[in-house]
Symmetry: C2
Subunit: 425 residues, 2 copies
Amino acid sequence: MKRYDYSTLTNPQVNKLCRRPAIDFEAVFGIVKPIIEDVRHKGDDAVLDYTEQFDDVRPASLTSHVRATSEISIQDKVRDAFEMAYANIFKFHQAQYPKDLTVETMPGVLCSRVSRPIQKVGLYVPGGTAILPSTLLMLGVPAQIAGCEEIVIATPPRVDGTIAPEIEYIASRIGASLIVKAGGAQAIAALAYGTNSVPKVDKILGPGNQFVTTAKMLLQNSDAMVSMDMPAGPSELLVIADTTANPSFVAADLLSQAEHGTDSQVVLVGIGDIDFEAIEQQIQKQSSKLPRADKAIIALENSFFLHVSSPEEAMAFSNKYAPEHLIINCEDAKQLSTKVKNAGSVFIGPWSAESAGDYASGTNHTLPTYGYARMYSGVSLDTYFKHITMQELSQEGLRSIASTVTTMAEAESLDAHKNAITIRL
Amino acid sequence: MKRYDYSTLTNPQVNKLCRRPAIDFEAVFGIVKPIIEDVRHKGDDAVLDYTEQFDDVRPASLTSHVRATSEISIQDKVRDAFEMAYANIFKFHQAQYPKDLTVETMPGVLCSRVSRPIQKVGLYVPGGTAILPSTLLMLGVPAQIAGCEEIVIATPPRVDGTIAPEIEYIASRIGASLIVKAGGAQAIAALAYGTNSVPKVDKILGPGNQFVTTAKMLLQNSDAMVSMDMPAGPSELLVIADTTANPSFVAADLLSQAEHGTDSQVVLVGIGDIDFEAIEQQIQKQSSKLPRADKAIIALENSFFLHVSSPEEAMAFSNKYAPEHLIINCEDAKQLSTKVKNAGSVFIGPWSAESAGDYASGTNHTLPTYGYARMYSGVSLDTYFKHITMQELSQEGLRSIASTVTTMAEAESLDAHKNAITIRL
């Protein structure tokens, strides 16, 4: 890993360290656009054709209904793990349930704000080398709590055209009605426009590769009338550590992020007399036992250690970088966490491994990457709600507000706006 | 206005009535893209050049600092109106202030959710034929309450290169630091990338014409690293009325929406024996006195009356249409409002004119149009916050969650994730 000393860096150099590698979406527009058009016009057939082309499988049916958990066979140990994770995620997201708000801004002017679930949501679960039931838990539990009327899942089928029982189990647990056995841009397009067998949804959520991300970007700004969770880039971790941090814990955390892929972003900000060598030795030692070490090592080569002189300097850099995951493993970690301005999710103290939050602490693991933590929040219960405002004026209320409204309407040359008040009085 | 009877319509016909006129953004991509590139590379000069080209004015300086309200001269009556509107908007948005949340999901597993303001926001206020101080109030008051560190305004200058004192007054009131004297795609690009004199912001908010909207769409999905409030289309109103509604009120409300522009969307859903003729006569009578009647009349020609037999049917259609503004002017309006699923803002009862909410009731008038009320909320205090999750596990907490995390990490073939737990225990 490269090393930098904060005190010797110029502002442009700090900005450069905060920059993520450019993703060239324009390059895949040309691939994704025709897929979207095909799915839009040919529906199910196009989705099946692309699935055959890209995933080497053509399921007998594009969709499958979700069976009861009692009919789905998974290992007891796995089911127990899923159930504990489900319970924690449910508890944390249930506590976010929005309360309706009513404020009488002036006598007779009652303003309120109510929350209504988005009616139909599409949850995308990537396939590839491994199954990702945790992604479905993170997307599905809040959708279920919010009370979305229809939860549709899209995920690439396995080579035999079926869906992994672990995914189906969670699908059943979160109350999903349908699984679309497709991945990639074709799955996103099917959810956005609807086909004969896939219902058109209002919002699409979930991570994916560059084709999925590009399809989401294009469809978000199209006549498909669909919204998305957030822009997505490779996963990231920034660790703030000092001499009190166990080097083996720090190394394990950096590796857990790095194993996601060669493009994972890993940053270690070390305070004061921290022993970078001890951490590097631990990385070497631990990575030798990891099956995905090849990926992790490439990711770490693109990453860096930054030496800072104080916790405040560490946090200043972290806030500038705006990491998806932030581990604070130093003295007074709790106190330092109050200074966080930009981050997706924060892990405080020596025992808060990122993987605890990835799976089961209760927080959501669908988080803003790529520096978008400066302006986006991770998925939460709110992600599945619209907040609608209402106002009810009494005749008295309208009278007391009338001259304000008519004066402002005049200032903006909107006479019919004024007329709607004066005609009532 | 065209008339339809709900009972005679097929489902596809109802869907067609819910569809908004297509907006061809692709057509302006070709105009907007080079503007964005120019501003990105040439900065201030490009912004000034485009302002000269499109707005026929080249201000001596691209930006101006915001003076104290005491130095800004506006009419007393206008100032009083602004102050009352400010107070109501402040009160309603202040009540939305997010509370931090802490949940112990399991013993020793503390999860929390905290809110942090987005640091730098850019508020766009369109120019054109009239000034729009109300837009700045609606965007700026919640930014001020949230505590955004920097509030930058962009708005086209007047022909003499200055900013209207009404806009400057509100800018001062909401604590903005700078006004960029530019509009259009060039202003949005300057806020997104930053220039020598314009700070780069994290989020851009505010309505605009097709060039502004297209620039926002393109920049949201670019390496500019900026987010936007929501997609924007022409303004809309759906009125639900029955025989208890005063036809002159209904007509005035329809006209107040229609005067926004020829592309305004206006829908009247009439229940039972409602007298459509009386409302049409009132429209003709009132519009004859309106300076913007020409615009309103074209808008109304594209709009329609829909006859339904019951309040429930009216609400079913409204929820399908998902209007930006919904006026419920019928018996038991309050009760019917509990059935709203999709709308931006709702106006309940005979005295709740839309223009009251446009200016001063306290609710926000920056609302989802074009059917996006199905999945987006209007601007609220939340628009200016990120919600960051945190977790702090004790050693005991990690122990109790460990087998869940390691089992799920195994199921997803992520060994380093498992290792980050086992190495700690």
